[in-house]
Symmetry: C2
């Protein structure tokens, strides 16, 4: 509520009343007007605490001090816990979020609360009550543009974050131009390790066309991005890391769970709409930002593809190699660059391995440290790739999947891919770990034998 | 900002001015006062849109109509998508959330946006800036009790939800009494299928003592509940469904990932604090409410235990039988009742199976329906149980887990349980599905052969 200026007008009106000759003739009237003016001034002071104004001052440096007034204490504690080496570095990073809907808005709020340096938000849509079944937007924001409403709320949550709202449609020629321009502008004048002005792009759009545009932009820039999506029946979702030249791009092999390619406006026109749930969207946003934090702050492993199937609590992961026959020219160009740089990468890997060995010789590390955090290695050779190019279509993974019908219609001709079936996966996992259903009937010795066999490999 | 009453006072002040003899003597003055009064009235109307006042009117019946002003259209679409049969039934349900912190507040917001009937919120803590690294609370709410702040925000988001805030500590004798009383009060006067006045209890507390109290209350009432937790290093979490008598209770075998038993106040006193992330807490809240929706609206499968390990995107699931030697007397009592009712359950299952067969005979169902949703069966026999009582400790599942150190100290003597290792699990899953690392080197025919073998079982 932009009540500040209205209250100022009321104070002016009270001053006009005081200047009126009639007021001069009555002490009581003057007193009443003065009282009224004072009340309006109090109200004006209160309005400074409106949600659209920052409720806390900016903080110069992130501190780990454990006091109730420090909004960063629980984040800086990640260093003491041995999870992140350099948490305060988060302030140097710039993240672009394309689409500020059910996933994008929550992702933006999470990154804002984490104290990210800069957020660029892109959307052309307006908040409406029909969005209230997902987190973030509030009913009183209905009618505002999603970018304005988001910037308003996020500023009040954390004024330390630099927020840039872009109300534009990236699928138009003009919109794409502005999108590319804004991505190129660097943050903090320091040269980023990233090829563009941002460190990561998060795609949180709800249609195929917009995903292909983000793919085009990131392929042209050589910019790493993470794609996200939720199915129209609201019970499946996914995130996918895309590194131009290194992984499959969105045109090489579309992800397993995507919207049907019909955008929201078309659906609305036809009087139908996709289902959505705050749970699924919140989980996908959480997984997306978790991957973002792991990628930027270099901890844990960033899954190349992580799916979520709510009905059976199934979370498949996998990897996809780029398609050398990809129809996207920029993708093929990035692939050639990536292949050319192999000797460079190998040399770096050798140097890193030697440095690691040197460190180990000085102070041998225990396999598990004080917090029992397993140190990750980033050995590419262990990865299991599903090669979209050489593996026959629809034979990569078979199984029943309720997402098939939805993605089939938008897959490039000849592509038909399915998620592994949750039941099969669980059964195989059970069998691998505890001997499956047989474990119930087998005697204790047999179970022990199976466990020992598993532990020995 | 509770400006409504202040504005009302301003209108009264303007009326007093009009009644003043001086005003009677000047048309201009009366006009000015009337204008001022009109402006205040406008402001008053605007203030109806303040965050602490409902920004939308209550809605009598949930509708599936696809218009921008319908906050329930995307939820009711779950029916058309074939996911939920009777979404509007959600208004009949009552859910108690114990602990309105990083997980509980987000869970409350999700259920509120889903249009749950009634929410009971329990917490004794106060909002502070140190909570701002998690979703939900806003800086301007610092100093308010968490229950007051939550009720304020949730009412403005969805005035259709009946909200009850209980500022109390359930671990005190008095607090426990009030907790039990409030759980017993029924909702909507209709007799619930639940043994208490609520349909489900969600535990979102941050310490062991409070979990044991929720466990005690639910065992006494025979009330099903879902426990949730996030590790102190902020990168692991879990949810666990507890059905008194049927599953392990919290005292039978504590969950795999729990806090160390040191509560937040103790930690603060010592100048240290646990780490937390909006991502992990948002994901755990999402999984918790997803399970809640599945449980209440009867769709999909509700995992008995679902873990989340952020570093490797690992989501273990498992089941635990109750411990007949459990130290909790109420748990043992519920177990006896459960055993006694076996013939009743068997008869029900037989009747259901026959009814299902009858339906199939009339109109044979396709395995996958129009939306390719696989119909779940709830055949208990397929479940793999890990029997906490008969399986030797620390041999149930072996593997490296960074949560071990944290849970070891609070497990009952002799219990030492570990999560399966994520790497092992992924490798075995890969091997089971695509022939593992070998798939990279083997030729196409070999891969095809392996895939066909997998598909045939």
């Amino acid at each position: 509520m932009a009540s500040g200026s209205k209250l100022k007008a009321l104070i002016d009106a009270a001053d006009d009343l005081l200047a009126d000759p009639a007021a001069a003739s009555s002490d009581l009237l003057r007193e009443s007007i003065n009282q009224l003016k004072k009340n309006v001034e109090k109200l004006d002071a209160l309005s400074q605490r409106d949600p659209d104004l920052p409720a806390r001052q900016k903080i110069q440096n992130m501190s780990a001090e454990v006091v109730g007034s420090n909004p960063y204490s629980r984040l800086m504690a990640l260093k003491r816990m041995g999870i992140v080496n350099n948490y305060e570095k988060i302030r140097d990073f710039s993240v672009a979020i394309v689409g500020v809907g059910g996933v994008g808005s929550v992702a933006a709020e999470m990154l804002t609360r984490c104290g990210i340096g800069r957020l660029l938000l892109y959307d052309y849509d307006t908040v409406e009550l029909a969005n209230m079944n997902r987190l973030f937007f509030r009913p009183e924001q209905a009618g505002l543009s999603k970018t304005d409403a988001a910037v308003q709320t996020l500023t009040s949550i954390n004024p330390d974050v630099v927020l840039e709202g872009y109300k534009l449609n990236i699928t138009t020629v003009e919109g794409f131009g502005s999108f590319m321009e804004s991505l190129a502008r660097p943050f903090k004048e320091k040269s980023s390790a990233s090829p563009s002005g941002v460190d990561l792009v998060l795609s949180c759009v709800d249609n195929y066309e917009a995903r292909m545009v983000v793919n085009q932009a990131c392929n042209e820039l050589g910019q790493t991005w993470i794609e996200s999506g939720v199915s129209e029946d609201a019970v499946s979702g996914h995130i996918q890391l895309l590194i131009p030249g290194e992984t499959a791009c969105f045109a090489c092999a579309p992800p397993l769970v995507v919207a049907s390619g019909i955008d929201e406006r078309t659906l609305k026109r036809e009087g139908v709409c996709a289902a959505s749930l705050p749970t699924t969207m919140g989980i996908v946003a959480g997984l997306l930002v978790q991957s973002t934090l792991k990628y930027l702050l270099e901890f844990g492993q960033v899954s190349r593809y992580l799916g979520y199937s709510a009905l059976k609590d199934f979370f498949p992961t996998m990897e996809m190699k780029p398609n050398t026959q990809c129809t996207n020219a920029a993708c093929v160009e990035r692939q050639h660059e990536y292949v050319k740089k192999k000797p460079e990468r190998d040399a770096l890997a050798r140097a890193k391995a030697e440095a690691d060995r040197a460190v180990q010789d000085v102070a041998p590390l225990h396999e598990d440290n004080e917090w029992n955090i397993t140190v990750m290695d980033d050995d590419d050779d262990k990865d299991v790739f599903l090669d979209a190019q050489t593996t026959p279509n629809s034979q990569i993974l078979r199984g029943k999947s309720h997402t098939l019908a939805m993605c089939a219609e938008i897959l490039p001709e000849g592509f038909l891919r399915e998620l592994p079936d949750a039941d099969d996966a669980f059964r195989k996992l059970d069998e691998a770990f505890v001997g499956g259903a047989a474990a119930q009937d087998n005697d204790l010795e047999e179970l022990e034998r199976q466990l020992q066999a598993l532990n020995s490999d």
